[in-house]
Amino acid sequence: MAKLDLTQKLAILSDAARYDASCASSGTTRRDSRDGKGLGSTEGSGICHAYAPDGRCISLLKILMTNFCIYDCAYCINRVSSNVQRARFSVDEVVQLTIEFYRRNYIEGLFLSSGIIQSPDKTMEDMLRIAKRLREVENFRGYIHLKTIPDAAPELIEQAGLYADRLSINVELPTDNSVKAYAPEKNPATIRKAMGDVKARKDVAGERSYTGKRGKRFVPAGQSTQMIVGADASTDATILSHSTRLYGDYKLKRVYYSAFSPIPDATVKLPLIKPPLVREHRLYQADWLLRFYGFGVDEITASRPDGNLDLDVDPKLAWALQNRAGFPVNVNKASKEMLLRVPGFGTRTVGRILSTRRHRSLRYEDLLRMGASLKKAKAFITALDWSPGGLTDSADLRARFAPPPEQLSLF
């Protein structure tokens, strides 16, 4: 095999990394390099330095250390049984790429993952060498996200947490059975244990010792995971219940949903489908409602008997259409909890309504200026000069929102 140059390696190893949805670089500690002795800063919310034509944010240099892998996960381009071209970065190459891209303001930092080479421990050790070089030799103060190898020794994962802003361990598929079927070498129990270890270690770091000192900084931006959607037959209800458990048990910062997307050299075990992008989008919306709007999984998934979300309308609207008896609500009187359930009102709009109505009563126009989407909201609210009349209970209300049937194209 001819030796690959840096450009070829970068092409192969970023191509292999694009199936990881996360590119977030927010929510870590604030750091800068004003002392002139290092490079980089992090200030709360991360920056998207570019957008690819798939509409996704490019914030980090998201690459694999290597796409050689001894596992055989059916959905993955890097599985041992795939004929994809293989490559491997040296420690120095990853460090130089990260630093040089960062200096030109292309990126916020590095998101490093890897196929599993030789053994989980060996792989994790090599990834750690890169993170350590960046932090200790290059004095890099930008963002580092390491995708952890769940089977690696706990000490190695613990070390990773000292260098990284975020750790992630992908649960990959929504149920244990699906993991067994499609990622036969992976063990869901091991994945959960690794997430549990990270959580426990982070809890300790957050506590103050008897001297009042805080523990060493440990994954300040927390941990996240990813689930592939549409590769197996799991319903949205199954997926969202799993997410709820993950948020609760492991205090995950984010669960990412990744529509199963065609890969080169697919396996017969898992035929390619058109990536279910709308479904993925609805799952993110539902996830948001669960975390910030006070909804429960049962409520959100009750609108359809098959346990899946309505693809035509967003999950909050779907819920409101099913629960019209509770509407319309009076924007000048309703509780915060109820306002949050109005379709077309975001958390910001609700905050503005609450602060303004302390001074005066709100009219329809006022709501427009506050950023509410009244196209959706108007059937579900009353204001000083607005009442929806029969609209709330009209039979064709759903049809007003659902898109007309789409022309089908051959896939």
């Binding site: 800068d32 002139g36 490079l39 055989d72 303004t356």
Partner: protein, 279 residues
């Protein structure tokens, strides 16, 4: 009638100082003309001296913070609008909490515009290596901001890139950071910057992190509007990526499943044995 000259560099401080004096002297908004960077020309060159600051007027913190953003907007009316709101605030308690007041809503919208411009500047400035053989490395960029955002945004770059020298040149204001000192200079035409080999690598990354099966051009352009493309080295690839996306996906779908490479069976056997040992 007062004509208040406001400089292009240091606009925020100059506006705030003038507004304080005028409001404390009870000068109503229709008695003030704001002249940004001498745009009114000679006609108004003989400005009436501003009244002295006789007493401090209190303004809500939220107004002061908003004004610090809005002064950088490119709307010629920004100073007058701010002063008019400040004037109303003297007698209207709670005005800042009224998220539906049309005048305030307009200013909030302008504030948002400046926020967005600042955010895009942090995102889309692209430095090139000047390859000077100094101890500190030197970089330079050309950027075209929508509003006057260089001055409020430059400190971000100073915090981030403190161990190198850099310059961000724009038609509006140019920021320079040399040996740890930040300074501002008048805007300039686009300088000739040396080619930088890293841009080709960055382009390679941009092309390969893109997933052709998820093409969604509008989501890209809403966050990365076309007006920025000419100064983004990666943007030259966008058309080709979009044009080739469907064919690429079709290719993946059409490809018949291949036989696993030979080494796969061996690796899997080995792995099974190892995992069996573990239990």
């Amino acid at each position: 009638m007062y004509t208040v000259p406001l400089p292009r560099i240091g606009t925020d401080i100059a506006w705030r100082d003038a507004a304080k004096r005028l409001i404390s002297a009870g000068v109503s908004p229709d008695q003030v003309l704001w002249d940004f960077d001498n745009e009114m020309g000679e006609l108004f060159a003989n400005a009436t001296p501003l009244p002295p600051l006789v007493r401090r007027i209190k303004a809500p913190k939220s107004f002061v913070e908003m004004a610090d953003w809005v002064v950088w907007h490119n709307d010629p009316q920004r100073f007058a609008r701010l002063y008019a709101l400040l004037w109303r605030l003297r007698h209207q308690n709670g005005l800042m909490q009224d998220r539906a007041d049309p005048e305030l809503a307009k200013l909030r919208q302008m504030e948002k515009g400046v926020h967005r411009c600042k955010h895009k500047m942090k995102a889309f400035v692209r430095f090139r290596d000047l390859r000077r053989n100094n101890e500190r490395r030197s970089f330079a960029a050309w950027f075209e901001p929508t509003h006057h955002t260089v001055e409020p945004t430059a400190p971000f770059f100073a915090r981030r890139f403190a161990d190198m020298d850099w310059m961000i040149a724009t038609p509006d204001v140019t920021a320079q950071f040399v040996d740890g000192n930040l300074s501002f200079h008048p805007g300039q035409p686009k300088p000739d910057l040396p080619e930088d080999a890293a841009e080709a690598l960055w382009g390679t990354y941009f092309c390969n992190i893109f997933n052709p099966a998820r093409l969604k051009v509008s989501a890209m352009t809403s966050e990365m509007p076309k007006k920025y493309w000419k100064n983004l080295p990666e943007a030259q690839h966008i058309h080709g990526l979009i044009a080739g996306a469907e064919a690429k996906v079709q290719q993946m779908r059409d490809a018949a499943p291949t036989l696993p490479p030979e080494r796969a069976a061996k690796i899997k056997r080995q792995l099974r044995d190892d995992q069996a040992d573990d239990v």
